[in-house]
Amino acid sequence: MTDLPLAAFLGLSAVLLGIGIFGILTRRNFILLLIAIEVAMNAAILNFVVFGAYWGGTPGYGLEGPSIAVVLVGLAATEVAVGLAIVLALNRLRGSINVAEATVLKL
């Protein structure tokens, strides 16, 4: 049983989310975009773990958080796999994974 600044954890996850969003807005390499999305996703997972630990003190409750975290870790990995599949197919076709260059569909 430890004491930790919950507000600081929430702030940290906010910062991580901000970094993820920042990455999504500025990076053009599909793999970097994947990483940015993973960073944002980890911010959410961090919240679930930390607050799972906090709510864990309530009898009978508090196991939702870590359970969700477990599921989300798996989900994020799946998303990365799907993303990579799309990258590879795109790379095979266009020879580039710069997302800003794929603009056949517009207006």
Binding site: S13, A44, F51, Y54, E64, I68, V82, L90
Partner: protein, 542 residues
């Protein structure tokens, strides 16, 4: 406590079974599109029948698998169950399955030699499975995960042609925005969990007293932010402005059948999510005013004194902006599929009116609009696919004379466009009529939603009429009139139906859509009363 029996999942089991069978057959080297398509269609039909039985439609009621006391049980009795059976959800399941049925029927007419038939139908089934599961959720994480099943399946569906750069580009865009939205919605869920220690949709919106433990201090503001994230994360599926931009490119780049599924089905799962997540906080203020909840142990902590109004403002503004942006952008569009995509965005705006007004008639109206949109928009995309299959270009101007040359397709498309524009005797008129009347009935600033909707309907007529004019009043360019020119000029009889070229599965799917547009336009009460019941029950159960 109401125990949820496993039979609740019978429709899902049909879908899953069909999907697994398809993957299994594929893995042993079986290649026969009709069999895969037949399996998928069969699974979807069985699931649809099961859902209709659970909705207790008269001829099927005897086969209901869900006990009557489980359907629409008050959520306070669910005891934190992740699953709830509401007639609202069942209605949505029926809508999802209908759009999947149209798409899978029409996909039976794909070229038989095409590779990837198994993966197409398998993914279609999984996407549908995700949506039907979402419609059962009583829990935020359950909802988001189900939506994610649909999401992942549809990213891959959009790109399943593999060698089509447009399809892959669409898949890439869809994936990026989708994954971003997923991250944002899970972050929002984590904030709500942080604030209240639960992800049960019911408990989140009411008081925490049911869970027997106090919320985090400062929970109100954190929960507010959590809801903001959820508006964004789920709004991506709804194609509400400003989360709409992906939709146009994706609908355009994806194969037409997939576009039909996205517009007809997967958009609706977002709307379902919106209703489920936000109705409770929106209604909460009114609930407090009329019947303050009993507070036995002094742990009744409310979210926010008046959490509903700001959310209603958000959704109201979003509705107006969405319909306007969709319509204005459609005006100058020269590509047929993109025009339909913009129109689909504007239709989402109409549907959001139901959420903003949040009265029972308005929700029923939104349901009718959602239901109607399946036939109008999915049908329209199927016609576009059929016309493209006949070798006609993707631009609106390429459709010159299509109405005369292909009477069946032309007439069907005309009916769908007229319904989208809201012409009487079509279901599109009825749904708008009900929705706008409900907004007027609610009075106050909601009336402006109806006014905006009416103005937008008027605006939308321009671009629908343009297509009709091109189809019926303009003659094709000489080069594209390589076909018997007499047919175009009215010299000889055009073929009566000319179904051969488009495939019977597709023709049947289009026919179903047209018949539904008329049937429910002439006699909407048969579904409207179901929708009204569903809306009433949802409001009572929550």
């Amino acid at each position: 406590m109401t125990a949820i029996p496993w039979t609740v999942f019978v429709p899902e089991l049909f879908l899953l079974g069909a999907a697994l069978l398809i993957f299994l057959l594929d893995s042993v080297g079986f290649r026969w599109l009709e069999v895969f398509g037949g399996l998928a269609t069969g699974g979807i039909v069985l699931a649809l029948l099961a859902v209709l039985a659970d909705l207790r439609f008269a001829p099927l009621a005897a086969f209901a698998t869900v006990p009557a006391n489980v359907v629409d049980a008050p959520w306070s009795q669910l005891g934190g169950s992740l699953v709830a059976v509401t007639s609202f959800g069942l209605v949505f399941q029926a809508i999802f399955l209908t759009s999947a049925l149209l798409v899978s029927l029409s996909s039976l007419s794909r070229p038989t030699k095409e590779k990837g038939a198994a993966i197409f139908f398998g993914l279609l089934l999984f996407a549908t499975l995700g949506m039907t599961l979402a419609a059962l959720s009583a829990d935020l994480i359950f909802l988001l995960l189900s939506i994610e099943i649909t999401g992942i399946s549809t990213y891959l569906l959009v790109g399943y042609t593999r060698r089509d750069p447009r399809g892959l580009e669409a898949a890439m865009k869809f994936y990026i925005i989708g994954a971003l939205s997923a991250a944002l919605s899970f972050f929002g869920a984590s904030l709500l969990y942080a604030a209240y220690g639960t992800t049960s949709l019911y408990a989140l919106g009411t008081t925490v007293v049911y869970l027997g433990h106090p919320p985090l201090d400062g929970a109100t503001s954190i929960a507010l932010l959590g809801y903001a994230f959820l508006i964004v994360g789920i709004g991506f599926k709804v194609t509400a402005v400003p989360f709409q931009a992906w939709a146009v490119d994706v609908y355009d780049g994806a194969p037409s059948d997939v576009s039909a599924f996205l517009a007809g089905g997967s958009k609706k799962v977002g709307l379902f999510g919106y209703f489920l997540v936000f109705l409770v906080p929106i209604l909460f203020a009114g609930r407090l005013a009329t019947a303050p909840p009993a507070c036995p142990v002094g742990l009744c902590v409310t979210l926010h004194p008046d959490f509903g109004v700001p959310l209603q403002v958000i959704f109201g503004v979003m509705a107006i902006v969405t319909m306007t942006v969709g319509n204005v952008l459609a005006l100058q569009q020269s590509e047929m599929k993109r025009m339909l995509a913009y129109s689909s965005i504007s239709q989402a705006g109409y549907m959001l009116i139901g959420l903003a007004v949040a009265t029972s008639p308005a929700i029923a109206g939104a349901l009718l609009q959602i239901f109607a949109h399946v036939f109008m928009k999915a049908g329209a995309f199927l016609v576009v696919g059929a016309v493209a299959g006949l070798g006609i270009g993707s631009k609106i101007e390429d459709w010159k004379g299509v109405g005369l040359r292909y009477p069946y397709l032309g007439l069907s498309f005309a009916v769908m466009l007229l319904s989208l524009a809201g012409v009487p005797l079509t279901v599109g008129f009825v749904s708008k009529f009900v929705l706008f009347s409900a907004a007027v009935q609610a009075q106050g600033w909601f009336v402006w939603l109806a006014v905006a909707g009416l103005l937008n309907s008027a605006l939308s007529v321009f671009y629908y009429a343009r297509v009709l004019r091109v189809m019926y009043m303009e003659r094709p360019e000489p080069r594209s009139a390589a076909l018997p020119s007499g047919a175009v000029l009215g010299g000889s009889e055009p073929p009566l139906l000319a179904l051969g070229g488009i495939g019977y599965g597709r023709a049947i799917a289009i026919g179903i859509a047209v018949v539904a547009i008329f049937a429910f336009g002439v006699y909407p009460q048969v579904v409207l009363s179901t929708f009204q019941n569903a809306a009433n029950h949802l409001l009572q159960a929550l």
